[in-house]
Symmetry: C2
Subunit: 108 residues, 2 copies
């Protein structure tokens, strides 16, 4: 058995965990907020916004992508990040579904 919890939200148990971990770091959350703020947010923008090295930015973006929270396309030498709201909403929904109990908790 690989799926103890039924992914009614379209989220794998593993993915759910990855998202939770991705959201746990404050800096990464900030990055996500900025990415969500603009469509097709260039990676460069993030560096200007926060006092972190580009290696760190790269690392965080990789994690966000791994969690499925953002999608990254490469445009020449630039990398554009786009948030995947569906996934975030699915996470929020699954969260309430797991611990919501009596509350029907339907999101979005």
């Amino acid at each position: 058995m690989k799926k103890p919890t039924s992914p009614r939200s379209g989220l794998t148990a593993k993915q759910f965990e990855l998202i939770a971990k991705a959201l746990a770091d404050p800096r990464r959350m900030q990055l996500l907020e900025v990415i969500a703020g603009e469509e097709e947010c260039p990676c460069q923008r993030l560096r200007q916004e926060f006092p972190v090295s580009k290696a760190t930015i790269s690392h965080h973006i990789k994690e966000l992508v791994r969690a499925g929270l953002v999608e990254a396309h490469r445009d020449g030498q630039f990398l554009h990040c786009e948030i995947r709201r569906e996934v975030l909403e699915a996470y929020a929904g699954e969260l309430l579904r797991r611990a919501g109990g009596t509350s029907k908790a339907t999101v979005a």
Copy 2:
């Protein structure tokens, strides 16, 4: 400035962060699920459910309480845990509010 992000959901920025971290650990999430499953869940129950030492359980519960996700009352030698759905829902709401962007994302 102590509040860069306005807590429209009633969640402090700090609390938001605490909740995110509390939710990040898979085991803690499982504990929360069990707690949410029953009202007034006795601490003992959790030990039977998972193969972890009582010290670990105690630690996790402390974290959950610190995040405001559960409330614990002591009844004699027993400790009863109760989930605070309002807080969980507030977290889910704030999450979508921060990264939801275009989506209105109203929860509960």
